[in-house]
């Protein structure tokens, strides 16, 4: 019952600021919620269609810069700028998606990484507009507000955005559109032969995902106040998002949120305990590798499977191979037989 679980989440978000012992913990909470929104937004593409994007960090950065530039250059009010920025990024996602989604698999990942790198170059070089490596200072949306209060407001804003993203995911999941997307994830050719306009579906969901990602990035810009291309367009952001979503489980509504909480909290915790060392990268890489090799479906399905197995052993004969693997196997056998 996703609704009941949603209620639990709402209560947890509502309670957290009053439970947080100091502003630092509250600010960490904002960061974790930011990750949760990003991972959920990523999952619109990753979870539904199975296309793994390592470039969502760039979309968030774009949302942040668009918000900041609209405020500083176009004098829009902060939150109007946020919405306009999300619309702009969604519009930009159309040509990006057009290049990236026409081809499958490898090329999509290449394009997603290239997106991060090219935007980094552009935002560093085009300093007359973006501020270049000096960064961009985003005016405070609530001038004069003291920092702890500022954190609290943004914690709730992020909470609202997360719930909106989850609700959208849930609605899509139940729709025929969502069914078509899942079919794409399972077998794109087959889905197409059954009448699903796969390219249009992929593009649409990519745009939706980009819009949510941009909203999270824009909110971050308003909260954080300083944008620097090196950190807004970092490949690392995308890899954390992928790790979170995969770890939590991409097929589950709350998987990415769970992943974001686990990884996000761990990141903050290790930073406080051990400082900020390059070993973070090693750990991230190691975890990502382990998840890909041994738990490609994430923690939630693995745990459920484990529980199921412990509960009723007679089920253990269920085959663990996919039809695609079977097909591969059969192809081999057939060719061997034909030779």
């Amino acid at each position: 019952m996703p609704l009941a679980a949603g209620a639990v989440l709402i209560v947890a978000i509502a309670m957290f600021p009053s439970l947080a012992p100091n502003p630092y913990i509250l600010s960490s909470g904002v960061i974790v919620l930011n990750w949760a929104v990003l991972a959920t937004a990523w999952n619109f593409v990753g979870g539904f269609t199975g296309y793994i994007s390592l470039g969502h960090g760039a979309l968030a950065g774009l949302g942040g810069y668009a918000t900041g530039l609209l405020i500083t250059k176009a004098d829009l009010p902060s939150f109007v700028a946020l919405i306009v920025a999300a619309v702009l990024v969604a519009a930009l996602a159309v040509p990006i998606g057009f290049a990236a989604l026409r081809v499958r698999g490898a090329s999509f990942v290449i394009v997603s990484i290239a997106l991060v790198l090219i935007l980094l170059l552009v935002f560093q070089s085009w300093s007359s507009v973006t501020g270049g490596s000096r960064g961009l200072v985003v005016p405070r949306p609530f001038p004069g507000m003291l920092r702890p209060e500022h954190h609290r407001v943004f914690f709730f804003l992020y909470g609202g955005l997360l719930l909106l993203a989850l609700a959208t995911w849930w609605l899509l999941d139940r729709s025929r559109f969502g069914m078509g997307l899942k079919a794409i994830r399972e077998d794109e050719d087959k889905a197409e032969s059954l009448g699903t306009p796969t390219f249009a579906y992929k593009l649409t969901v990519f745009v939706v995902s980009a819009a949510f990602t941009a909203l999270a990035g824009g909110l971050y810009a308003l909260w954080f106040g300083d944008l620097d291309p090196v950190f807004q367009f970092s490949v690392l952001t995308g890899s954390y998002i992928v790790l979170m979503a995969l770890l939590g489980g991409v097929r589950n509504l709350y998987g990415p949120v769970l992943g974001a909480i686990v990884v996000g909290v761990a990141l903050e915790y290790f930073k406080v305990e051990f400082g900020n060392t390059p070993l973070h990268l090693v750990t991230t890489g190691l975890l990502l590798g382990l998840v890909v090799m041994f738990m490609p479906d994430g923690v939630i399905p693995s745990l459920t499977a484990l529980v199921k197995r412990l509960r009723k052993r007679e089920d253990s004969s269920i085959r663990e191979v996919t039809a695609a693997d079977l097909a591969e196997q059969r192809k081999r056998e057939r060719e061997a037989a034909n030779s």
């Binding site: 025929r176 197409e192 009448g195 039809a323 097909a327």
Partner: protein, 242 residues
């Protein structure tokens, strides 16, 4: 509506897989496409259903030119197909597998719930008809090979195609199921659906088809009713490699 190709040609590098094929399938009948291994039958299927773009020639369904169109456009035009190695959506339940074949309208249409009663009823109807209703809630990957073949067919039927292309329906199935598939094809054909079947099992082909097209080296070399084909020496020659 007649499904027909004119001068269809497809080469992979230097290998010509289909070489100027002119084929017309008889509407309302069970058509069979036979030929030795490597004669280009599956490539032909892929060209017709848009999985591969032909180099030359055209594909028509009735008056409609489907040459080089995207697979989903061809599917929506009323040409459904199964795959040689039986492809289902492994992590989706049987009922979801069938429901994904609902012909989606525009994008807004797609936002409607996938679980509307009329669609679910239709899906259950096809699962029942194919005798796998009891597996409705099971994920496809947990089903047996034969069950998956039936599930795949159920999905195709859900899209309400006028013509159905089956790529080796008898591949890897046991004799009991083979009989069932044969009966099903005849029944579904009797309800007005055209079939085109690529098959190696000659018993099945001869027993259920009305019209047979023989492929060799990428083009049809003979066509006609089973009795005629059985007597055709060119066919024998093609199979024996004479």
């Amino acid at each position: 509506m007649t499904l027909k190709t004119t001068g269809l040609r497809k080469a992979f590098g230097g290998v010509v897989a289909i070489d100027g094929a002119d084929v017309a399938f008889q509407p309302g009948k069970v058509n069979a496409l036979i030929g030795p291994n490597g004669s280009g039958k599956t490539t032909f299927f892929n060209c017709v259903t848009g999985m591969i773009k032909p180099d030359e020639g055209s594909v028509h369904f009735g008056d409609r030119d489907l040459t080089g169109r995207a697979p989903h456009v061809i599917a929506r035009a009323g040409v459904g197909r199964t795959f040689q190695l039986c492809r289902t959506f492994p992590r989706m339940t049987a009922i979801e597998n069938v429901l994904s074949a609902v012909r989606p309208g525009g994008l807004l249409h797609g936002l409607r719930s996938a679980h509307r009663k009329t669609e679910i009823d239709r899906a259950h109807h096809w699962l029942t008809r194919l005798g796998i209703e009891h597996l409705a809630g099971a994920e496809a990957r947990t089903m047996s090979w034969g069950q998956q073949k039936l599930l795949e067919l159920a999905g195709v039927l859900m899209a309400e195609p006028k013509t159905i292309l089956l790529d080796e329906p008898a591949g890897g199935v046991n004799p009991a199921l083979l009989d069932r598939i044969g009966t099903l094809v005849r029944e579904l054909n009797a309800e007005g659906r055209t079939f085109v079947i690529v098959e190696h099992n000659m018993d099945l082909v001869m027993s259920i088809s009305d019209h047979i097209v023989v492929f060799d080296r990428g083009r049809p070399i003979a066509a006609g009713p089973p009795a005629e084909i059985r007597a055709d020496e060119r066919v024998l020659g093609a199979y024996l490699g004479v």
